[in-house]
Amino acid sequence: MTGAMTELKTETAKYVYGVIRAEGASPPKGAGIGDGPVGVVAHGSVAALTSDVPVDFTEAGREQLLAHSRVLEEAMQGSVVLPMRFGVVLPDERMVHERLLAPYGEELEAQLQAMDGKVEVTIKGIYNEEAVLREVVAENREIAGLKKAIEGKPEAATYYERIRLGELVEAALGERRAAAAPQIIDRLAPLAVDVRVGEPVHERMAVNASFLVERTRLDEFDRVVDQIGAEQAGRIQLKYTGPLPPHSFVELGVGV
C-alpha cells in the first residue's frame, strides 16, 4: 500500500493554451484554467503557454472556455501567439517538448513568423427577418401570389399551399444568403491578408467569415465594416468580433 502510494506520479497534467516565441517570452499574468498560474515551456525558439490541470481534466464549461480565451487574449497583447484548440492536454512537461515543441518546432516557428503582427476578426451578418421577408414577397411573383391566395382562408383548408409558400420562401432566402455573402466578403477581403468563409449557422445568417488582418490596417478594415454596416442598416446586422488570436489561420501538419 505505502509502496504503491509513493509510486504514484504527480496528479497534474499540462494544459496547453498556445505557442509563442521563446525569446523574451513571459507568461500572461492572469490565471489559467482552474485558477492556476500560466507558465512557459521553452524549446529552442518556440515556447508553449501551459498550466497545470488535474490528470483527469475533462471539464469544458463556461469557466474553462473563458479561461482559455482570456489567456490567449492576454498573450496576444504582448506578441504573436498561435492558439491551440480548446482541450489540448499533455501528460507532463516532458511531453510538451516531445510531442509538440520538438517535432513541430520548425513548423511552429514558420507560423509564428507568418502570423506576426496579424489578428483575426470575425464578421457575421444577421438578416432582419421582417425586412428580408418583405423583399422576398416584393420580388417573387409566385410567393406574392400564393400569399394572396391563402389570405383570409382557414388554416386547415390551405395546409399544402402554406407548405408550398414556406418552401418557396425558404429557397428564396437561401438564394439571398448566397448572394449577400460574397458582396460583403469581397469588400473586406482586399484589406485582409487571408479569409476563411464559414457556413451560415442558421437561416438568418447572411455572412460568417474570418479575416486575418494586419494590425496596422485594422483601422482601415474597421471603417469599411462600419460603412457596410451603415449601408445594410435595418436589413443585415453586422457582428464584429476581434481582434482575436489567429484561430482560423493556424494548423499543424500531420506526421511525426
Binding site: A60, E63, V89, L165, L252
Partner: protein
C-alpha cells in the same frame, strides 16, 4: 464618414455594427472549439453537448415545420406594416422554426450549461434588430458556473478528421 472619429484610433463610429472582443464567449465559442492548433491524440476533453452545439447548429434542416412557420411569417407581414413593433415575436417564432425541432432540445441544454439561463446577447439581437449593440466587457464576462451536461467523467476524443 464620421469626421470626429478619424483622429483617434478608430474603434467603430457608425453605431451599426455590434462589436465584441474575446470576452464575449458566445462569439468565440466556435473558434476555440473548432479552430486552432491540435495534436490529435491528446485532445481528450469531453465536450458533451458543446460538440453538438457547434456541429449540429450548423445544419439547417428544412422541414414542413419550418415551411409552415415561414408561411405564417409571410402572411403576418401586412398586419405589421403599420405597427412594426410586432417584430420581436415574429422573429422568435422564426428562430425556433429555423433551428429545427430535432436539435432544439439539445442546443438549449448546451446553451444553458455554457451561458446560464441568460443569453443576453441573443436576447438583445432579437429585441433590437439593426441597432447598436456595443457591449462593454463588464456585462459579458459575468461568470456563471457551468454545471449540467459539461462535467461528465467520460472522455471522448475529438479527432481532426484523419
Amino acid at each position: 464618414m464620421a469626421t470626429a472619429m478619424q483622429q483617434q484610433p478608430y474603434r467603430g463610429g457608425s453605431g451599426y455594427v455590434a462589436r465584441s472582443s474575446s470576452s464575449g464567449l458566445y462569439d468565440v465559442l466556435e473558434l476555440i472549439l473548432d479552430k486552432g492548433l491540435v495534436i490529435d491524440v491528446f485532445v481528450r476533453v469531453s465536450l458533451i453537448g458543446i460538440e453538438i452545439l457547434t456541429i449540429d447548429a450548423r445544419i439547417v434542416i428544412a422541414s414542413v415545420d419550418t415551411y409552415l412557420r415561414f408561411a405564417e411569417a409571410v402572411n403576418r407581414l401586412d398586419l405589421m406594416s403599420t405597427e412594426t413593433q410586432g417584430l420581436p415575436e415574429l422573429m422568435d417564432g422564426i428562430t425556433e422554426g429555423g433551428a429545427s425541432k430535432k436539435t432544439q432540445g439539445v442546443l438549449q441544454g448546451a446553451k444553458e450549461a455554457l451561458f446560464g439561463d441568460e443569453d443576453e446577447e441573443e436576447d438583445e439581437k432579437e429585441k433590437e434588430p439593426a441597432t447598436t449593440q456595443r457591449r462593454s466587457s463588464s456585462t459579458t464576462t459575468k461568470r456563471r458556473r457551468a454545471t449540467s451536461g459539461s462535467s461528465s467523467g467520460s472522455s471522448r476524443r475529438r479527432s481532426k478528421g484523419s
